[in-house]
């Protein structure tokens, strides 16, 4: 209702100060615990759901008389690419904003409301409706093609697809669970168990550059062109480092297959079974995990390859153009290679970036963070949870393993986001210098050192080298020559 006269208008406005209600300490404590519980429960449910969805597809495949053997693949594609990656990427669009808000002492977006649902009329729901609002916004925006891009319309339209598709295809080789028996069927949450797993990652990562370069060039915009140029140079350069940092891991695990790499970082199913059976006989509660090194250290990739892991994370951050390597976007200099895109095409570029984040986190988890393995406790879980609710211990373990994979992945994503909000952007030539003159020699040295140590001392030698490297890194970070900042001198005059 619009008031007619100024005075009525003034009266209709409520300018009074209103304060929200401060929650009590107890309700906050309860809310925090309940919230974390709900979050972990949700992750557990998703873990179970991924397994169940794949199993369902296998079951459906069994009902169809044609035996093409495609049902596990279709099931894992559904479960991993469409559910895990897509949903994580979608949630990340929101998480990016909410997490950055937390880092920056803000509340974050919370204005969207689901007003059509009666009970949710005035509930911000912590900003979750923004995901829907963003999707709808991008869907219904005008798909505008600038005049300059008309003559290359096909390439112009192709670019977002070329940026979007590889991000999702990459996840095909990431193992989310070991090969396991779930409701009576052998299956594994990995789309493609191929001998050329890592090579596939490198190959598809290179395809993404076409999308960016094409987008920059076909937009027929000077700023976008600069973005495209920067992107193509940067992506091509960092592929070298990206590949070399993984060579160390290849030496450690002796395989190009990501599922083998993940498997080698923990116990196999057979050894868990043996260990659990042995423990059953002797009556121990805690069952020894024989995959650990020196009896206590999980044999994760990050233990053998600390430098490789850090360099890989940095190179991957550059490869997916996330800050501080976001020069192709560089929103304060050149607005970015996707400057001329609108609507859902622009959205594809944005969601591709988040999907790539998920994939990189998945690969890092699979190679360096022990994949789906839980250190120390796997046989104990199998033994103590066996036949609980009539379900075998291995099924419980499978759910927990997928859960642990997701948690590790989220942690890596979180680290990448922290880095994204903490650092200023590199300059284009400095990215090149970092890539070619610092990271490339260091990763080459890492390869040589790893190979040498492996020949000299085998896996244990590598573990000792890794521990020494960690020690060096920690002491390097902790020992700062710069004095602490002065404390504010404000108490003196009170």
């Amino acid at each position: 209702m619009i008031a007619e006269t100024p005075s009525a208008r003034l009266a209709s406005e409520d300018f009074g100060a209103k304060a929200g209600v401060k929650p009590s300490y107890g309700s906050w404590l309860f809310g925090t615990i309940a919230g974390w519980g709900a979050f972990l429960g949700f992750l557990l449910f998703i873990s179970w759901f991924l397994l169940a969805l794949t199993r369902l597809c296998i079951w459906v495949g069994d009902q169809i008389p044609l035996d093409w053997g495609l049902s596990p693949a279709i099931g894992t594609i559904l479960a991993l690419v469409l559910v895990l990656v897509m949903i994580t990427a979608t949630l990340l669009t929101m998480a990016d904003r909410k997490w950055s808000a937390l880092m920056q002492d803000r509340v974050g977006p919370n204005r969207a409301r689901l007003s059509i649902i009666p009970g949710l009329k005035d509930r911000p729901l912590h900003g979750l409706p923004h995901i829907l609002a963003d999707v709808l916004k991008m869907l219904f925006k005008e798909d505008f093609i600038p005049e300059g891009a008309e003559k290359n319309k096909f390439l112009f339209n192709l670019a977002p697809l070329l940026a979007f598709a590889p991000a999702f295809m990459l996840f095909a080789v990431v193992p989310v669970s070991p090969e396991l028996t779930f409701w009576g069927a052998r299956m594994q949450l990995q789309v493609a168990r191929v001998d050329w797993g890592i090579l596939y990652v490198f190959a598809l990562a290179s395809v993404a550059v076409f999308g960016t370069a094409l987008a920059g060039w076909t937009s027929n915009n000077k700023l976008a062109l600069l973005g495209g140029l920067r992107a193509s140079a940067q992506l091509v350069s960092y592929e070298v480092t990206l590949g070399l940092t993984l060579v160390g891991a290849l030496i450690v695990f002796g395989s190009l297959r990501l599922d083998v790499m993940a498997q080698l970082q923990g116990m196999t199913e057979a050894s868990i079974r043996t260990a659990a059976a042995l423990a059953n006989r002797s009556g121990d509660f805690l069952v020894h995990d024989d995959s650990v090194i020196f009896g206590w250290l999980p044999s994760w990739g990050i233990v053998f390859q600390p430098i490789g892991a850090i360099l890989f994370l940095v190179a991957a951050q550059a490869e997916i153009k996330r800050a501080p390597f976001d020069t192709p976007e560089g929103e304060s200099e050149i607005i970015g290679y996707f400057l001329e895109y609108s609507g859902l095409k622009s959205g594809l570029f944005l969601i591709a970036e988040y999907a790539e984040t998920v994939v990189v986190a998945g690969i890092v988890t699979g190679i360096f963070l022990g994949g789906y393995h839980l250190p120390w406790v796997e046989p104990t879980i199998v033994r103590s949870a066996d036949q609980w609710l009539g379900i075998s211990g291995f099924s419980w373990l499978a759910v927990l393993q997928v859960f642990s994979f997701i948690v590790k992945m989220l942690f890596i994503i979180w680290v990448m986001f922290i880095a994204r909000w903490a650092f200023p952007r590199f300059r284009y030539d400095q990215i090149m210098r970092l890539g070619w003159k610092m990271m490339l020699p260091v990763s080459l040295a890492n390869v040589a050192l790893t190979a040498f140590v492996y020949l000299w001392g085998g896996r244990d030698g590598l573990a000792i080298m890794g521990l020494l490297e960690w020690l060096a890194i920690f002491s390097f970070v902790a020992l700062s020559s710069r004095p602490h900042l002065p404390e504010p001198a404000h108490e003196a005059h009170h």
Binding site: S100, M103, Q104, D105, R106, K222, L223, L226, A323, P324, D326, T327, G330, E331, S332, E333, I334, I335, W421, A422, F423, P424, R425, F426, R427, Y428, D429, Q430, R482, L485, P486, P488, A489, H490, A492, H493, H494
Partner: protein, 411 residues
């Protein structure tokens, strides 16, 4: 590129022996701004690029021109104050003080002791706000968004205090001839002392995030270098000049107000690059904090405005209750303060440098002429020189570090 160029280039390309054949290339001209994220909304840069290297650039100002000088000639002496608010709109109290000091010099009056301290106090809070804005903007446009929001969080605390002190956050119009408009409200000092440590803490966090981070240092070190000689020739003042190692701070060189009683240091740079300008501003925030503490400590009680009815409005008690008061009040409002004829140039240390007011009075109630020496204009005029030969990505930190404020550059 002409056709003959192209033909010769193609010819060279086809010649197998011509290894050194020139790759055909041409320069690209690009408009940055006036609506460009890094141009602060009000300036246009036409840059000529060779690849990503800036060959030439032409800044174009005037998008925020308001006709300050002409408008001032049609206002009474006090009515100019709101115009000065809008010169450097991030630190308006400093502009208010600079202008009113000129008028006081013409009139030959001296503000009260307490008013002097209040002006310095408010001015240093404003200086912190200005430097925080600049430092935050450098962070923001280099991609470190968090730095910007920490700076804004700190600035917001101070602007709240300014709102309590002056009655408005930005457009304060706070000074008066012979004093200031409002005194510190009760409890204000405690609130200020409360929020200053938080400001310092956030400044230290910005320091941790940027100052020793090599990414940031690489982006700013050796970028936009200008030597002391050249900077003086261009007319640099303030942090940009001190970054070149020239020890010139009006507060120290020609102490005005009560700055001679304050114990503070003037940080100096050595290289005159973007990094030095950034570090200087951070350090000046700390020095301003020291000055504020000393102001609060030394603040004498007393009136906040002189009791001289020729220039200052009579107290309301007299206006309401006595015929003399209401007559003086009426004359001052209707005619304006009759400032004696004369010409004066007054310079103070604004947040970005020497803020000069050249004021001419012909003895009437309105100024005859006012010109402002905004510190931003000479510095902006050196921008093409600063960015020449640098990459387009370097334009951003350079442009931020000179802290162009449209209001004072374009007046």
């Amino acid at each position: 590129m002409t056709d003959t160029d192209q033909a010769s280039a193609l010819e060279a390309e086809n010649d197998p022996l011509a290894v050194e054949a020139e790759i055909p290339h041409s320069l690209m001209t690009m408009n940055l701004g006036p609506s460009h994220p890094a141009m602060h909304g009000t300036v246009r840069l036409t840059v000529t690029l060779d690849g990503e290297t800036i060959v030439n650039s032409v800044p174009e100002i005037g998008f925020l021109h308001r006709g300050f000088s002409k408008s001032s000639e049609n206002s009474t002496w006090h009515q100019v104050l709101p115009y000065t608010d809008r010169l450097n709109y991030v630190s308006p109290i400093l502009n208010n003080t600079g202008y009113i000091m000129g008028v006081e010099k013409l009139a030959g009056v001296k503000p009260t002791e307490r008013a002097e301290y209040l002006r310095v106090l408010g001015g240093e809070i404003s200086r912190i706000c200005d430097h925080l804005t600049c430092v935050g903007a450098i962070g923001l446009e280099l991609g470190a968004f968090t730095v910007f929001l920490y700076a804004i969080e700190a600035r917001e605390l101070l602007w709240d205090r300014i709102a309590e002190l002056c009655g408005a956050r930005v457009t304060v119009s706070w000074t008066r001839i012979g004093g200031v408009a409002t005194d510190m409200p009760p409890g204000w000092e405690e609130r200020l002392r409360d929020c200053l440590p938080r400001v310092v803490e956030l400044t230290n966090e910005i320091d941790t995030l940027l100052t020793r981070n090599r990414i940031f240092v690489d982006r700013t070190r050796g970028v936009g270098v200008i030597g002391a000689e050249e900077a003086i020739d261009y007319g640099f003042t303030g942090p940009c000049l001190r970054a070149c190692g020239v020890n010139y701070d009006v507060r120290k060189a020609h102490p005005y107000s009560v700055y001679d009683r304050m114990d503070f240091e003037v940080p100096l740079g050595s290289k005159g690059d973007t990094y030095d300008r950034y570090v200087l501003r951070l350090e000046e925030i700390r020095q301003s904090h020291r000055i504020i503490e000393q102001c609060l400590q030394q603040m004498p009680p007393g009136p906040i405005v002189i009791d001289d009815w020729r220039y200052a409005l009579p107290p309301k008690k007299e206006v309401f209750g006595s015929i003399e008061g209401v007559m003086a009040h009426f004359k001052l409002i209707m005619e304006g303060m009759l400032i004696p004829a004369g010409e004066v140039y007054v310079y103070t240390e604004g947040a970005n440098g020497e803020l000069g007011f050249h004021i001419v009075s012909n003895g009437k109630g309105k100024p005859y002429a006012i010109q402002v020496r905004g510190p931003g204009l000479p510095i902006l005029s050196a921008l093409p020189r600063l960015i020449q030969g640098h990459a387009i990505a370097d334009l951003i930190p350079i442009f931020d570090s000179i802290n162009m404020i449209g209001g004072e550059v374009e007046q």
